[in-house]
């Protein structure tokens, strides 16, 4: 449908007259246009419509190339990877070790650690966590720890051994004579890599001395009361003294038991030993996998930088864009006004 047919009927005649009398370009102008010579071809033409996507593609290509290059250069070869695993320096003691060796190792490892003071009663608590290489070592060292504890004159309070598919561990609560505690710690530490060690020493001598003094005093009182009760007394007085005697004797028995417990506690150290094996290493990725991993890391880093740049430059870009749009609108309005005036 011709636009003329869309024009309101009122203007139909007007439109037909205008269309029929349309200006025609004179022959001179036609010749001028025909004579236009094509411009010399430019060697390089800056075309933003093509330049922007091309620059984007180039940036992506460079990013991928850099990431790939770094991935290839930095990924270790598989043989090197294996060597690193095998060279890991681990102190091992799967089989029972001669005491001399164990002691020497203990002195080396714990030369600066707390040792129970000779001649004083002390409560010695040690908490050790040792990591062994594999499930076999875990089993062997657990059995060895139990045997070694008994050999030193100690005993096992409780033991827990758990070896699920991914990671196994055994937890042992041991009592070892305090004279052999350093030897025991050195021995246990040599099972593998010592992950953590905590030793708490608490002095019991003062408490035992205090208990001894109180017991002596009470015993003296008991003797005095017994001596008084041997005399002639009023029934009320006798009843009172007998009551005090019973109370003091009970106190003496209680304090004596308490003292004995403290002495026992000072004679046996408490060792909480945890032995764990290493988590199964994930299947070592191949060279291609490591290369891809490295490349992925570099790409992630590049994206981080890009994001940072966007955050920093984003507001400026937005302002620039807004200024450009505002400029265009202003230019268009100015054109309209100009045409209105012309």
């Amino acid at each position: 449908m011709s636009p003329l047919e869309l024009v309101d009927d009122r203007f139909g005649e007007l439109a037909r007259e205008l269309h029929a009398a349309r200006p025609v370009a004179p022959e001179g102008l036609r010749e001028r246009v025909r004579a236009l010579a094509p411009p010399a071809p430019r060697r390089f033409e800056l075309n933003l419509r093509m330049l922007v996507p091309a620059a984007g593609l180039a940036a992506i290509a460079v990013s991928l190339a850099v990431a790939g290059g770094i991935g290839v250069l930095h990924s270790p070869k598989s043989t090197e990877h294996g060597t690193i695993q095998a060279r890991r320096p681990v102190a091992r003691l799967a089989a029972p070790v001669p005491q001399a060796e164990s002691k020497a190792l203990g002195q080396r490892v714990f030369g600066a650690t707390l040792a129970p003071a000779a001649g004083r009663l002390q409560q010695y608590d040690a908490n050790l966590t040792v990591r062994v290489d594999n499930r076999d070592d875990l089993s062997k060292t657990t059995q060895d720890a139990l045997r070694f504890t008994r050999r030193l004159g100690g005993f096992v309070v409780w033991a827990r051994y758990a070896a699920p598919s991914d990671r196994g561990a055994s937890e042992l609560a041991l009592r070892v004579p305090v004279d052999h505690v350093q030897q025991a710690i050195a021995h246990f530490s040599a099972y593998g890599t010592l992950v953590s060690q905590r030793i708490v020493l608490k002095d019991l001598q003062q408490r035992v001395d205090g208990l001894t003094a109180r017991i002596s005093r009470l015993r003296a009182e008991v003797a005095a009361l017994k001596e008084q009760l041997g005399r002639v007394l009023t029934p009320e007085r006798r009843a009172l003294l007998e009551q005090r005697l019973q109370r003091d004797q009970a106190q003496v028995a209680l304090l004596t038991r308490s003292k004995a417990a403290s002495v026992r506690r000072a004679s046996m150290s408490r060792i909480a030993l945890t032995i764990a094996d290493r988590p199964k290493p994930a299947a070592a990725p191949g060279r291609l996998g490591r290369t891809l991993h490295e490349a992925g890391s570099v790409l992630a880093r590049e994206l981080e930088v890009l994001l940072y740049a966007l955050v920093v430059a984003g507001p400026l870009l937005l302002i620039g864009l807004a200024a450009m749009v505002a400029g265009r609108v202003a230019r268009r309005r100015s054109d309209e006004r100009l045409l209105e005036r012309s």
């Binding site: 203007f11 102008l29 025909r34 209105e340």
Partner: protein, 167 residues
């Protein structure tokens, strides 16, 4: 595929009258329109490699170029007049046969009394018979705005013709 010089020659031959007519209506001056037509085609030849047929017809593209060439001319003229204070002297007197051969003198005078902005929409929609979308693209406005502008321009034109006949 990039348009070739041969394509340009064909497009120039085919649309020369359209561009010329559009510029005659826009400027209201045949001599200026001829110069601007030549300049428009010179510019078009320079930029012909950038012309993308998918974004519109060659006629629409040439009319856009012609409009921007005319606006540059108006702006330069306005600056010159302001600088030289010769506005009144340079305002061209209405001449006969500017807007086409065989137009009635009343219609000719009425057209000359329209603004360039009103004449350009009449030229695009009535004389060149561009569809609403293409005309709107040349003018840089929406199709609805283009339609409104055309309707007002025709009303004004009719009023001017009627007033002239009555006088």
């Amino acid at each position: 595929m990039k348009p070739s010089a041969q394509d340009f020659a064909e497009a120039a031959e085919r649309h020369l009258d359209d561009v010329h007519a559009f510029l005659v209506y826009l400027t209201g001056d045949r001599n200026v329109a001829e110069d601007l037509t030549a300049e428009t085609f010179a510019r078009a030849l320079e930029r012909w490699r950038r012309y993308d047929p998918r974004r519109g017809s060659a006629r629409t593209w040439l009319c856009q170029l012609a409009r921007s060439t005319a606006i540059d001319h108006f702006r330069a003229e306005e600056r010159r007049r302001r600088r030289e204070g010769r506005w009144a002297l340079d305002t061209p007197a209405s001449e006969e046969g500017v807007f086409g051969e065989g137009l009635s003198p009343e219609l000719e005078r009425a057209l000359s009394r329209l603004s360039a902005s009103e004449r350009e929409v009449v030229a695009l929609r009535i004389v060149l018979e561009l569809d609403g979308e293409s005309a709107a693209r040349v003018l840089g406005i929406s199709a609805t705005a283009c339609s409104t502008r055309l309707s007002r321009a025709l009303q004004k034109l009719e009023r001017e013709v009627s007033a002239d006949v009555a006088a």
